[in-house]
Structure formats: C-alpha cells, structure tokens
C-alpha cells in the first residue's frame, strides 16, 4: 500500500510540474488526484480491504499524502495567480511623467492680495474696516480735511470733477471724516478703497488704490504713530529699517513721510530708490486740530494719528513689478502669476 501511495505521489507531482504554468491543466490534475472521485479518494476506498492495523497506518499515510498534494497544488495555483496578477499590474503601469490633471483655481488680483494682507495686519491690531463713496463731496475730500478752497495744497492732488461740488475722491482720507462724524472715540479704523487722480504716465495711474488708517483717543501721540507704523511695515515687508521724515499734508500736523530701506538693493542705492537707499511708503501724521473741529471733536480732549499708503506701490515692490500699467491691463499672462 505504501508503495502505491509513493507511486501516486510521484505521479501527481510529475503531472503538477508539467502543468504548473497552465491553470486549467492544474485544476484538472488537482481534481484527478484530489477530487471526490480522484485517485486519492480511490486509495481511501481501498482501505476497507486491509486489516485494522494496516488500515490505520495506510489511512494515515494517505491522509498525509492528501495534505501534501493539496499544499503542492494550492501553492502552484497561487504562484500562478501571483504571476498573473504581477503581469496584469505590469500592464496597468502608467507614464507617471505625464502632467497631472486638475481644475485650475483662479487667481486674485495682486492689488486684492496686498489689500487683504494689509487689512489682516490691522484687524489683528484691533482696527475696524470702513468704506466710503468714490464720488465724494468736495467738503469731505478737501474742506473738512483742512484744504481750504483756492489753496495751493489742492494742487498736490490733481482732481477729476463731476460737478462743482462732487469730485472723484483723490484719497481715502474722506472716510476719516465720515467715520468720525458718526462715531465717537476711541477709534481704530482702516479704510481701503479706490481713488482717482488726474495724472497718467509711467508711474501714475488715473485710478489706483489706497488704504487709509487712523487711531483717535485721549492720549495718542506721535510716538504711538511711529510704533504702530513700524510694527505694520515690519509685518508687511519683514524686518526692515524704517525712518520718519517731516512732511506736509494739510490734514495732519506734525506730518511725516515714512521710508523703508530699499527692498530691491538693501540700501546700496539703485534705480528703484533713485540711489537714496530708501523707499517712500507711507504718508502719516497727527490728525490736525482743524479736522477734529470739522467733526466736532474737542482737539484739546482728543489726539490721534492718521496714515495712508498706495496699494499698487506695495504690490509692485513686493512682487517686483516694474510697470504700473500692467496692473490694469488685465493680461491673463500677468494675472495668473499671482
């Protein structure tokens, strides 16, 4: 009996090795040996003719044979599966260097990006955001801001007129007046917006954007102005030297212009800073008592500072844009870079 078991095993393994690369042949062979009516089952049937001792021994041998053959066939089959899978996956290989697919998100205008950035710095300092109209009364744009009629200070800002009384606002400063007329101090406000000046060349656009800011309370000083603006400029441009120069704007006194170290040349002097090593970035000052009087604040009780900056200028410096006009040409090749 044991010889028959050995013969059968040899025979089965031979057949397995011949059929190992063909799934059907393997299945057939497995069935022939291990199926319900297969050779192994036949062998088991033959056990009845044996003596109990022999039967036990032979039964064990046959069962062992069965286990071994099952393992061998299963292994061969799974090797076949594995191979086929490998082959299939190999066929599914893609050229991973082909470009990725995505729906391209749109871009924000660089002026919007900078405006958002500046708004976020100031709201972080507790400033509120306010707005005002772009077509503005002469009163708000000039007179209440201490620009008397027939005063040469008005020449500082070439004005578009809609009528004798109405102008396109030349700065966002009128929002100061509008806010102060409505609210009492303490006030911390910034006012971003579109402004207009009758000037158009390489470095002037008839329409541009400004952000006005002001803070009013009982004891706001020029030292406070310096601190807030230095903090702001360091947030906006990174650590940078800042200097304050006396200057004149009718609605502030003392008035100042604020420069930062040239971001292009680091202060060595270049075309952008006209060789000075400094870039003028802000106009600022202590709110003029006449402005407080125009909104019925007592200038003895309240003091405050105000400042304004041009958004396009900051955008040009931060993004390295050399030509102002690009900002309003709406060339997608330009806009998509931001």
């Amino acid at each position: 009996m044991s010889r028959r078991v050995e013969d059968l095993e040899r025979q089965a393994l031979d057949e397995l090795s011949r059929a190992s690369s063909e799934r059907e042949a393997l299945r057939e062979a497995r069935n022939r040996y291990l199926g319900r009516k297969g050779e192994v089952a036949e062998l088991l049937k033959g056990l009845g003719t044996l003596s109990p001792e022999e039967r036990k021994k032979a039964g064990e041998a046959i069962n062992n044979l069965k286990t071994r053959l099952e393992e061998a066939f299963d292994k061969a089959l799974s090797a076949l599966d594995e191979g086929e899978k490998r082959e299939r996956l190999e066929k599914e290989r893609v050229d991973i260097t082909l470009p990725g697919k995505f729906i391209r998100p749109g871009k924000l205008h660089p002026v919007t990006r900078i405006t958002d950035e500046i708004e976020d710095i100031f709201t972080g300092l507790g400033f509120n955001i306010a707005e005002g109209p772009e077509v503005e009364l002469d009163y708000y744009n000039f007179e209440a801001l201490n620009f008397p009629k027939d005063h040469p200070a008005r020449d500082m800002q070439d004005t578009f007129f809609v009528s004798d009384e109405f102008v396109l606002r030349t700065h966002t400063s009128p929002v100061q007046i509008r806010v102060m007329e409505k609210c009492r101090p303490p006030l911390r406000v910034i006012a971003p917006g579109t402004v207009y000046r009758r000037d158009s060349d390489l470095t002037h656009s008839p329409m541009f954007h400004q952000i006005e800011g002001f803070m009013v309370d009982r004891d706001i000083s020029f030292a406070n102005l310096k601190a807030v603006l230095t903090l702001f400029l360091e947030r906006l441009f990174g650590q940078t030297a800042v200097r304050f120069r006396p200057s004149f704007f009718p609605f502030v006194e003392p008035g100042a212009e604020v420069d930062i170290r040239c971001v292009i040349c680091g202060g060595n002097g270049c075309r952008v800073c006209k060789g000075t090593g400094w870039l003028e970035i802000l106009g600022a000052g202590m709110i003029h008592p006449n402005v407080f009087r125009a909104v019925s604040y007592d200038p003895e009780e309240y003091t405050g500072f105000a400042f304004g900056l041009g958004v396009e200028r900051v955008a040009m410096l931060k993004f390295g844009i050399g030509d102002l006009r690009l900002l309003f040409e709406n060339d997608m090749r330009f806009l998509e870079q931001f």
Partner: protein, 795 residues
C-alpha cells in the same frame, strides 16, 4: 525747486558739504530729491595759454599749436580756427577723461604728435552747442585744474511742500539750512545810489480801495542801456531753468530766484500817464500778455493798469505793451504783495502758471518787498547803468503785525510722546527765527517771523519743534487701548467669500478703470446722458463712470484673445455709478465672463466649449457657497445677450442680476469664434440673501428608495416647472429630484425631448414600505401625464 549749492553758500558761513546738507534738509522736512554735480564731468583738464599757431604740415584743415601750461610747452594738434596766440584755453592732458567716457591719449595726427586736446564747451559737457574751442577770460591763471576755475557746483532739486513758501528762494533755503545745521546765515547788503530826480516826478502809484494788494513798492531808474547780461548771470539763470532775456529782465528774475520776491520791470515811457493803478479789471477789458496771447478780463482778476488800460495781470504776467525792450530808457521796477487766493484764481482762470504766480499763491514775505526791490535796483545800476530816482514808492497801508502764539510744553509732550524741555523748545524756535519767551512756567509765547506765514497756531510750532528735535529721536511707543476685535465690514467679508468661491470655480480677478468711453457706457444698457460724467476727463476713453461691468469684461476678453489667450474665466467686483439726488448711487456689482474650453487644454480633458449652463452653474455654486437658497432663474432679455439664452436671477423675489450668452451680433466686434457667456449680479440682494448662517440638518436614519422615470414631453415645457410639480407631489417623502438625461433626436418626435429624472423617496420618521413608494411614484407619473402631457417611457 532747483537750486545751486554755491549760490546758497553765498548766504552761509560754515556750510556742510553738499551731500551732507541734502541729507540734513531731507531729514528735517525739505526733501532733496536729487543732487547733481555740475561742471565736474571731466578730469585732468587744466588752464593753458596758446603761444603760437601754425598750419599743420600735412593737413589743410588742422592747426599745430604750441601751448604753455606754466610748467612746460606742449604741441597740440587742433581742428578749430577760433584761437590765436595769447588766448587762454582749457587743455585736456593725456590721461584726461571727458564726459561720455572719452579718454585723451598722446597720439599722432597726420604724422604729428599731439600732446593733449584743447576743449570746446561741448566736449567738456558745459553746453549743447559751441563754435570752436572754449576761450577763457584773460585773467584766468595758468596750469590750474579747470574745475576750480569753473567752480564745480551741485544742483539740488528740492520738493517744497505747499506750506513752505519761504523756501522758494536761495535766501530762504539758506536760512533753513542754517537752522538745521551748524552753518550761520549771513545777510547780503545792497545800497541803491539814488543819483536821479525825485521819484514823485517820474511816476505815481495808487491802489484801488479793497484791491487784494497789501503792499506795492516801486523804484524808477532812468537812462538805462538794455543789453545782454554778463555770462555769469546768464549761466546762473540757465542753470535754474530761466532763459536769459536782457540785463534788466534778467535782474528781476535773478532777484526772484534769490529772494523769492517776484518783480516786474515796466518800460516807464510806455505807461500812459506814468502811473500805476492796482485795480480790478473792468468788464470787457483785454490784455496782451508777454507770451503773445490776448486775454479777456473781468472784475474777478486783479490787474496793474496805467492811466488807460491794464498793463499786467497782477502777480502772474506782464503785458507785452510795456515790457522792457532794446530801446527802453526808463524803467519802473515793481515789487508788491498780492493776496495768494487772488493770484491763484487769476492763474487758474487764465491757465497761466509762472514763477511769479507760483510764489504769490503760496505767499511771499510782505516784509521783504523793499529789500528785494533795492537789490534789483542796485543790480540794474551795475549792469545797465542809469540813475535811480531819489526815494522809492512804498504803498503799505496796513503794516504786518506778528501774532503771538502760545506753546505749552506739557501739551507738546502729550502730542509728540516725548518731553522737550522749555529751554530746548526755546532754542529750537530761536534757530528758526521765531522769537520766543517763557511767559509762565512751561508756557512759551512765540512770534514767528513774517516769512513764516504757515505758522499760526500751537500745532504749527509743535511740528517745528518736532522736526528740528528730529523725528527719529522721538521714541516708538505702542499705544495702550481697550481690547476690541478688529471688525471687517460685512461688505468686505462678503466680497472676500465671493472671491474665494470664484477662485475655486477657476475665475481670475480683473480690475478695470471705473471710467469708460461713452460707447462702452451705453453698452451697459443705460440711456445716454444718464451717467455720471467727468467735467475734466483725461481722454474720451475715460469720460463717464461706468453703469455696469460687463462691457469692460468684454474688452478684457478681446485683448486677451489678441494675446492668444483663448480660454477665459474672469470676474470683477466694483461699483457701478448711477446719478442720484445728491451723490451718485454706488451699486456694487459682481460680473463674470466665460469663454472657450470648459477645461484647460490638456492631454486628456474633453475639449468641449463652455455653454450657458456652465455660467449658470457658476452662479449656483456661488450661491451654495454663500448659503443662499431659493434662487430663481427666469427667462429674460438683455440688449447684449442672446434672446433665447438669457436668464434673470431672482433672490427672495427681487431682481438680483442677469446671465446669458453674448448676442451673436456682437461676435464680430470682439473677434469671437465661439459663444461667450457673461453674468452680472448686484451685491446688495446677494448680501441680504446670504446673511442666514448655516444650520446642521440631522442625517437621515431611514433608508431611501430611488426610482427613475424617462418621459417624452414638449420642448416648450420648462424643466423648472416639471421639477416643481414632482417635488410638490409629496413634499414629505420626495427627498430629491435629479435630472440625469436630456435627449433630443432619433425616436423622439420633433418639438419634444426626452427627459430622465431620478426621484428619491425617504421619510424622516420611518422606513417607507415598497407599496408606499410605488403609490407616490404612481402619483408622480400621473402628474407628469396630466399636467404636461408627458409620455412616460420607463418608470
């Protein structure tokens, strides 16, 4: 203002070097925008004298000169003809570098060695044209660096702010320089030799009552000879941008530049009645000004008149009839003070801004009127001869009275954030020529000089103290404030949300000018003449404030197509301007444009073009993102849009905007090959509808059951109606109705279309039985048939 450092130094002792001075002025409020070194654009050029000149042995047009430098004699080959033995010249030695990087070397010219070059003014960068080489004055020393002869100078360009009229002169700038540096200001003295007859015999002056002229002074000089000015004066004027005319006119201009006091010289013989009358112009009077233009006058303009007619626009420009010419013998020099606003009005009215009007508008020193007059008279006597009349006229009825200003050191400390002591403040004020005294402890009483008309209140003095103290010496101290959150205006927050949602939909933001041409304005669908127009536009392209944004986006599309950008998704958020009762109404709008492929051209995206429903989808997605529900789209019309592909957008029953396909009639105008889609929404109703805030809706706990229906129905039945009808069949159990197919064509009768929808049934209370779902679905099918005559194919 452009000014010469050397000229400034005539008024200063111990002036710092030019660049240091410029820095100091800038940091104290007088911004020096540029410093240009002049007369020094060359090296190694010395003075020399021509000893002899011969013809070049090998060239007819060249000379061979011997030139002496004091140390040696050199042989120079020269192409010019204008020199003769004895002439002093500027000689560039070998190794010299001339403007433009031109280097001088020893060289053989036609076989003869030249040991240098005699220079012309052009070669030295001194003038734009010259004839021959430069011949120096006879008294020029020999062998010295030519730059020292030329007097190398620095021209500084100062940005003078409108409050500092006192800096619009050399003398004023020198005064400021002395205040902000260690230099000492020294005055120049002028004496007028009054050798002529009494002035009362020569001319009379009167000022009309109420005329905006607070002082009028004049001198008369008889027997002048008009001629060119000496080079030194010509050069100085030219360097300051003033053309040299003749000796008398040049003197008035020179004194204007030096003192800031505008002057005018009249030909006295051309003044009728030898009289000057300062008065308002009469209605219908005219004047021919020296620029050759005839100007119509009215009583708003102050003029200087003689007995008959106006002879000058007061403070602005003189008249041609009385100007000083080559034949003038007797002159009257005017030095006056006119009201700034009066000069400004006249200057604007006649669109005439002059050196004179510029200064009067800002305010000249009323106390400096006669000093300038005397300086001019003494210079005229020197340059043009003649005899000055005895005495001068000085109509000055109401003398200048300085006002006292109180300065509180305590208050200054509060405003500046730094304590400046009374002594420090007094010291600073006195450096600025402000007379101050401590009236009581910590209180200064100060009197500004007459030339500082900008100083009238305490805050003006604080600025003076602060700027001389130095802004950079004021500490930086963060303010102490009650904590409060920085609040973003609702409008700002909404605009940010819209931008972010549209970015997600692939839209790029554009920014256009608010003013457009009338044509573009009209395209927005507003009747002509109903816009907010500019009185003084820069160009006709920017004449009127736009009433809608779509025309601008269409222009952007056309330009980008020209740049070969064929797929566009752009938007803009900006106000549209509508004339109102008072100020125009500013209606914020959002407009967008889609053109070209739905997906960007790639190697595997489908290449189909956007259609109406892409545009509609953008708005629907935007509304979803903003939490807006219940938007309705209704078939509508718009002059720019395809009549069959236009929808009005309604929010909460209000008109909120429009979307649609650009009218095919407009394809040609923009060079389109495919349809473009645009939309424009009013921000205000969007803002109203979006303020609801999001609320969680409980997740469903019971299973759903979906049924599909396909049916054929007339094309005229809008899907929106079908959708509503299905939903309303049973609002409780019909959860969603989704359209998943629209089919026209084969097997579908013309005039009809096949629609397929999936209806999802679900109850929020329990699991629906199959029978319940079938019953409701049966009602849906029935509704479709009964209401819309739909022929149900599959259900």
């Amino acid at each position: 203002m452009l000014f010469s450092y050397n000229w400034l130094k005539e008024y200063l002792e111990g002036a710092p070097p030019a660049r240091e001075l410029a820095e100091r002025l800038t940091m104290t409020g007088t911004e020096i925008e540029s410093v240009a070194e002049t007369g020094g654009g060359f090296t190694n050029v010395i003075t020399a004298q021509v000893v002899e000149c011969e013809k070049h042995p090998n060239a007819d047009k060249l000379s061979l000169c011997k030139v002496r430098t004091g140390k040696e004699e050199l042989a120079i080959v020269c192409g010019a003809k204008n020199m003769k033995p004895g002439d002093k010249v500027a000689l560039a030695l070998p190794g010299a570098e001339l403007p433009g990087g031109f280097k001088i070397k020893k060289s053989k010219i036609r076989g003869v060695e030249s040991q240098g070059m005699m220079c012309s003014e052009v070669e030295l960068g001194l003038k734009d044209t010259s004839e021959g080489i430069m011949i120096l004055p006879e008294d020029a020393p020999l062998g010295v660096d030519f730059r020292t002869i030329l007097g190398a100078d620095f021209m500084m360009e100062a940005g003078i702010t409108p409050n500092r009229a006192d800096l619009l002169s050399i003398r004023g700038m020198a005064r400021e320089a002395a205040a902000v540096t260690q230099a000492v200001f020294k005055e120049k003295e002028f004496k007028v030799d009054e050798a002529g007859r009494p002035i009362a015999e020569c001319a009379t002056v009167s000022i009309e009552k109420g005329a905006p002229c607070r002082r009028y002074a004049a001198r008369v000089i008889e027997g002048v000879s008009i001629g060119p000015s000496p080079d030194e004066i010509k050069n100085r004027l030219e360097a300051h941008g003033v053309r040299s005319i003749n000796n008398v006119v040049d003197v008035t201009n020179l004194v204007l530049l030096e003192t800031g006091q505008p002057l005018h010289a009249f030909d006295l013989d051309k003044l009728n009645g030898a009289s000057i009358i300062v008065r308002s112009a009469g209605e219908g009077e005219t004047i021919a000004t020296i620029d050759g233009k005839t100007r119509n006058l009215d009583p708003s303009t102050l003029v200087i008149a003689d007995a008959n007619a106006p002879v000058a626009l007061a403070g602005v420009m003189g008249g041609g009839g009385s100007e000083v010419t080559g034949s003038t013998k007797r002159i009257l020099i005017e030095s006056a003070w006119f009201e700034p606003s009066s000069v400004r009005r006249a200057s604007r009215k006649h669109a005439l801004s002059t050196e004179s009007s510029y200064r009067f508008e800002r305010g000249v020193d009323i106390e400096g009127v006669t000093r300038a007059l005397d300086m001019a008279a003494s210079l005229v006597l020197k340059l043009a001869g003649g005899k000055a009349a005895k005495g001068s006229i000085d109509m000055y009825p109401e003398k200048y009275a300085p006002a006292e200003i109180t300065f509180r050191t305590e208050r200054a400390a509060r405003v500046l954030g730094v304590r400046v002591t009374t002594d420090e403040a007094l010291n600073i004020l006195s450096r600025l020529g402000i007379a101050g005294r401590e009236a009581s402890p910590g209180i200064i009483s100060a009197m500004p000089p007459s030339y500082r008309m900008d100083l009238t209140t305490e805050i003006d003095l604080m600025e003076e103290v602060a700027r001389i103290f130095g802004y950079n010496n004021i500490p930086t101290t963060l303010p102490i404030a009650a904590m409060s959150p920085g609040e973003t205006a609702m409008a700002t927050a909404l605009r940010r949300s819209i931008r972010s949602l549209l970015s997600g939909s692939g839209f790029t933001e554009v920014m256009n000018y608010s003013f457009v041409s009338r044509e573009l304005f009209a395209m927005a669908g507003v009747k002509a003449g109903k816009g907010v127009e500019l009185l003084n536009p820069l160009t006709e392209e920017q004449a009127v404030m736009r009433a809608g944004l779509i025309p601008s986006l269409l222009e952007n599309m056309a330009r980008n197509l020209a740049w070969k950008r064929e797929d566009l998704r752009i938007y803009e958020i900006a106000p549209a301007f509508v004339p109102g009762e008072g100020l125009p109404e500013e209606r914020w709008k959002l407009a967008g444009l889609l053109y070209g492929n739905r997906y960007e051209p790639g190697w595997s995206f489908p290449k189909d073009a956007v259609d109406f429903f892409d545009a509609k989808g953008v708005i629907e997605r935007l509304f979803e993102g903003l939490g807006i529900e219940g938007a309705r789209f209704e078939a509508s019309g718009h002059p720019l849009l395809h009549p069959g592909k236009t929808a009005a957008v309604k929010l909460e029953g209000r008109h909120a905007g429009v979307l649609g396909e650009l009218h095919p009639d407009l394809w040609g105008r923009y060079g389109l090959r495919k349809p473009a889609y645009v939309f424009e929404l009013d921000i205000e109703p969007v803002e109203k509808a979006s303020g609801k805030g999001k609320k969680y809706r409980e997740l469903p706990r019971f299973p759903e059951s979906a049924r599909d229906i396909a049916f054929i129905v007339s094309e005229d039945v809008p899907f929106g109606d079908i959708y509503e009808a299905i939903r309303k069949t049973d609002l409780k159990t019909i959860e969603t109705v989704e359209l998943f197919d629209v089919y026209y064509g084969r097997n579908i009768p013309s005039g009809t279309r096949s629609l397929a929808v999936r209806v999802t049934y679900r109850s929020r209370e329990r699991t629906l039985t199959n029978q319940e779902v079938e019953d409701t679905h049966g009602k849906v099918v029935k509704t479709l048939f009964e209401r819309f005559k739909a022929e149900v194919r599959v259900s």
